[in-house]
Each structure stands twice: as C-alpha cells, then as structure tokens.
Symmetry: C2
Subunit: 215 residues, 2 copies
Amino acid sequence: MALARRGKHSRDELRRMALDAAESLAAAEGCGGLSARKVAAAIGYTAGTLYLVFENLDDLVLQVNGRTLDELHARLEAAMPPNARNDPEKALIVLAHAYIGYAETETPRWSMLFEYIAGKGGTLPEWYRHKLGRVFSLVETALRPFVHDEPEARRVARVLWAGVQGICTLKIRLRMDLAGGQSAEEMSDMLIKNFLLGVVALRPPVQPPPRSGSS
Amino acid sequence: MALARRGKHSRDELRRMALDAAESLAAAEGCGGLSARKVAAAIGYTAGTLYLVFENLDDLVLQVNGRTLDELHARLEAAMPPNARNDPEKALIVLAHAYIGYAETETPRWSMLFEYIAGKGGTLPEWYRHKLGRVFSLVETALRPFVHDEPEARRVARVLWAGVQGICTLKIRLRMDLAGGQSAEEMSDMLIKNFLLGVVALRPPVQPPPRSGSS
DNA sequence: ACACGAAATTGAACGGCGTTCAAATTTTTA
DNA sequence: TAAAAATTTGAACGCCGTTCAATTTCGTGT
C-alpha cells in the first residue's frame, strides 16, 4: 500500500539506522548472519533502498568496521592508566588485555574486522586506514619511553601489535587450544615481556625517572 | 545423455578429484570463487554428487585446508637447515621466511586457512588439530636449544608463531602498509630477534657448544 | 539371455543471497 | 492544478548450498 513514503528519513538517518541494524544483526547472529535483505527489513525498508546509501554490502560492512575501530580505540584509551609513562611494560600489558577483552566480548564484530575486507581487491580507503592508525598509535605512545626514534617506534609498535593480534586470532577466531590451555592474556603477557626485554637490550631506555626529590 | 555412469570412479577417486579441483579453483579465482557447482563441473559431475563424498561445502574446504597444512609443513621442513641446532635464531628466521613465502606465493590457499573454519560453531576435528600441531612442532624443535622444559617450549613456540602469523595477516590478508613500508620478513625478523633476546635473558640457554677441541 | 535389485548419479526444486532497475508513488515546484 | 523531481518498491537475474525423488547403469542369480 504505502509506497515511497518520501521524507520519512533523510539519507543520513537512513545510513545511521542501517548501520545500527547491521551492528545488532552481526552481534546477534554472528558475522555470517548479515544480509542486505535482513538489514533492510530490520529498519522497515527494502534491500534496494540500501543501495541508495551504500555502494554495496561490502561498503556497509566497512562502515560497520569503522565504527568498531572507533569503539575499540575508545576502550583501549579508557583502559590506559594515566601514569602509563612510568611503566611502559605494564601499560602495554593493560592495553593488550583490553584488546583481548574486546575481542572476547564483541567477538562477532571484532571478527568482522578480519573477514570481509580481506576478500576485496584494492587497498583500504584512507579514512579507514586513519582509524586503524589511531589504534596503533596508542601502542606507539605506550612504547615511546623505550624507543625514542619515531619511525622506529612505529615499526616496533606495529610488530608487537601484530603479534598480539595473531594470538587473538589463534585463540578466539580459530578456537585453538594448542598451547596447553594457557589463555590469550597469558600468551600476550609472555609475548610482550620477552619482546620488550629484547627491545631494551638493543635500545637502552631513555633514563630512569630522576631519583632526587627536586623538580 | 550419458547418465549415471556408475563405476567410472570410486568414492575415493571422486574425493581426490574434487579436492584437486577445489584447490585449483581456489588458487585461480581466490577463496571466494569456490562453489559446489563449480567444483562439480570441473570434474564432470553435478553438485549433488559432492554430497555423497563430503558432508557439505565447509567439510570440503576443511579437507583442502588439511592438504594445505600438509604442504606447508613439508615446505617448512624442507627450508629448515640441517644444522639448525647450532643457531636457533637463524633457524627460526628461516622458518618464518619460509612461512611468509608460502603465504605470499599461495595466498588464496593460505588465506583459506583463516576464512572458512572460523565461522563454524564447534571445535576443529582431531585430525585437523594434529596437522596444525605438526606445523607448530617445527617451531618448537627449533626453539628447543633455548627452552629445555618441554611444555614451556610448546608455549613459547605457540606465542612466537602466533606473532609471525599476525604479521602475515596484517601484511597479506589485510594489505596494511602501516609500518612505513617494511616487509613482512623485516617485521618477523624484528619480532623473532627481540623475542628471543627476552627468552634467553630469562632462561639462559643450555650451554654454548664446548670450546675445547676434545670430545 | 534375461530379469531384478542395488548402486550411482542426476536434475529439478527450495529458499536465500547481492544487485539492478523500470515502475509506482509521493513531494516539490511552477 | 499540472508537470517535474525525488523517493521507494518489487520483481527480476543469476548465483549460492542443500536435498531428494527419479532415472540410469551395473552386478548378480537363475
């Protein structure tokens, strides 16, 4: 009956509603339970309508992933202790635990970060790479007391975080229990501690905070 | 015309042919270009026939992944220098480079290891976990000179390899160039060197090979 | 030589998918 | 009020995984 009820929702409202619905759907039914028809039905529209607002389903998923990265960044930032600079190892461990916690709590959405994008041909769009960079930069700043040179700090942070990510993938995505039952947290603790030992062995840290009470 | 040419191929022949075809298809068109109808057509059968030999498509993919793990194990084993025990760091780096090389050469099949299985509910079947364990055990033996305690060596190997895997995921699957253009090899070298420095710092290695000429 | 049951394979069908687009409807504008 | 523009639909296309009655072929006993 009621066809084409124009003006009900602006384009931006539509976008927001669709992304909300997609998030809920993915969280509820897992990453595979997401389809254009389902998302559209959840917001009272038809599949075709989504194509006025998104290029295609992959685009929609990419937008959801963008939101996920924002949320992840916020969580990690909130978890960072304010006195992080005093004990970088502790800060990195806290960061890693927060990341693992997010991956375990929001498994479908976290998993989606690695499922949909991979298949496409080209590179990730710039805005998406920026969001990714923000997450990595948290690790970078936590590492800063250990690695003064900025590009080197970038490299070290990337490597370390890729390692934490790999541990999460094995434990959560592939549900592998190959390590004799140790948790992802224990594994990442081990990675971080050993890796940092190597880092400081090669690059002596700045200097211990001044011992005297003055200044 | 020629319907139901029974006896042409035994069940096991059918299995083998289907797996071969699936491998080729995946390698040619990427992991997404695999479908029951295509696989069946490639071996001159119909989609329905595959269901006499496999539980479903996920099962077929799991079998292909099993083959991939076998091939990967063979490659890594072949890459291991025979004198690996003399220089474990070198051995691990060689192993990591071989792994990265496989991931880069056989990207679709390697990628499939992380794409299809994750979605399912249950745990991986035992035979599959065994194949995985074989790959990990190569890392484990390379590490052995550094970590004597066997369960600890398992844990260390898992953590280190998860890290290498994470680097590959970032560089190859997600095509991320966030680290200022350093290659996966450079990143994994960094991971391994720093990590091993930490390992030997905490656990002094067995003993340097005897210096004296005797014995 | 022939028939008959068992084995093997098909092909159509079901429901769902992403995507496109002419048509239908509503709103805006003139 | 009539024409133009904007909005949304719903049907269609070709694909997908999966199932299963029907069909064809084979092996066997007589």
